[in-house]
Amino acid sequence: VNGRQVPAMTENKMQILALSGYGSSEFEDLEVTESIVVIGDRSQAGRMDKHSKWGQILAYVLLLLLLLAVAAGAAVISVHASDNWIVVMLLAGVALGFGVAALFYRRFIDQQALSLKSELQEARNRADALGTATGRLRARRSSSGS
């Protein structure tokens, strides 16, 4: 864009976000001559892929156990339930236990999201401070003529 490199972005909507990082006066200065050339950062995409699907695996294991328990429970109930309430209560307890486990899993996700949000805010503050520092550096250098 106007001889300036737009930071690596991979999708169209991200190109707009990249440009939104420019100040309004600078944005007016930008002139799109032919097309916006975005150089995708493939290494970044690779890093995203590398992140294992632990969340998904955990959820599916939980679900599989639940399905097995309920299927076994349904079979047992259909055969013995009428004369064995202890079995029924036990199975209901297992289902309740899975519910509690699922709630703990939800809580873990929420905690992770909160911690990520605070880390993102911290990174944003650092980036803001860096923006100020680079602005100051530019101003000092341009005033000193270097």
Binding site: P7, G21, W54, G55, A74, A113, A133
Partner: protein
Amino acid sequence: VALDLSDLSDVELDDYVRGIRAQIVELKAKLESIPSSRLRTVKVVRATFLTTGGILAGAVDAFGFLLVAIGLWDWIETLSEDAQAMNTQNSVSGELKYLQAQLGAMESEIQRRTTFDS
């Protein structure tokens, strides 16, 4: 290929910081909102009651298994959404670590230029 920040001009360095800031905003937008997270907690509770109640009811009447089926459906939906949210968070966390490293490198570079000037 790692970008050598010392090769960048002051203007390019400034642009690079803006780019990082934009990426941080974009990452924040990827995270799930609190209301939708709460909605899923409600769904987990609902699924638990339906399944447990269904098992108890199933001992009396086969109709109870319908409740179990509905509860399971709820559970499957919620857990798959949970897994998706967690995967997104994992990838955001990875990208954030990369950006934090970039910010660290930027801080060192600005420090280097400031020291060089003085």
